[in-house]
């Protein structure tokens, strides 16, 4: 029973995230936050057809879903993506590292298989 309610919690959390993403304005906001930096609302709302109040509501929805975090800096309200809200840069680094591992394996085989470097050349 405990398992069942955990699964239901997961489902509920997923529904919140998907609902938050199912809106073109909110996807546009995520794209603007895609540089990982924190931006004031005014800058995020720039060029979007909605009012600043509407943008503020959209950002609140994203914040509740755990996709962005907001903070007050002086009189400004700024938002940024949560590093764990989207896949983190760590995955990227891991993939680049495994590509180097593969390349070094190939270099080792290349040198081991090299006929010009066998004993008969010594």
């Amino acid at each position: 029973m405990a398992e069942r309610s955990l699964a239901q919690d997961d489902d509920r959390a997923a529904v919140v995230v998907f609902a938050a993403l199912g809106d073109s304005t909110r996807l546009a906001l995520i794209r603007r936050l895609g540089d990982g930096r924190s931006h004031p609302i005014a800058q995020l709302a720039n060029d979007l057809p909605q009012t600043r109040q509407a943008i503020t509501r959209h950002l609140a929805v994203l914040e509740q879903a755990g996709i962005v975090t907001g903070e007050h800096v002086g009189r400004e309200h700024r938002y940024q993506l949560r590093p764990d809200g989207l896949r983190t840069g760590r995955d990227y680094l891991d993939r680049a590292a495994s590509q180097w591992d593969d390349a070094l394996d190939r270099l080792r085989h290349f040198l081991d298989d090299d006929p010009t470097d066998r004993g008969d050349t010594q």
């Binding site: 895609g34 990982g36 680094l93 680049a96 080792r108 290349f110 090299d114």
Partner: protein, 151 residues
Amino acid sequence: MTAMTDRIERTVELRASIERVWRAITDHREFGEWFEVDLDGPFAAGEVSTGRITTKGYEGAPWRVQVTSMDEPNVLAFTWHPYDVDPGVDLSDEQTTLVEFRLEANGTGTRLTITESGFDGLADPRRLEAFRSNNEGWSIQTDNIRRYVDG
């Protein structure tokens, strides 16, 4: 960010002599064999090296690096845009990472250390890529939900 997220470092001990490893790394044909890239010409310090990746699944992806130093037989270094990124994205204005091959004679063999550093400067494309792949997953999931809800 910390150094942990900014660099990759790998060290391998190779049986071949330092001269032999130096050739495998700096002769553009030998480099191309094991790195899996078809290079247009020899490496030269200060010059751009161009070619095409031959790795299965990535065939034809452009290779373009700026060779920053060639110090025989110890150091080869170049800057590039890591080849893991989406080839459809123009990254020419984005920051590069620095790749360094350092060779040390170790007995009759060679210790080779490869470092790639500067990943912190790649925040933008890295995040955009993360966003794109997640976005794709999300649209599949939202389609699933829609089908489920619509019955």
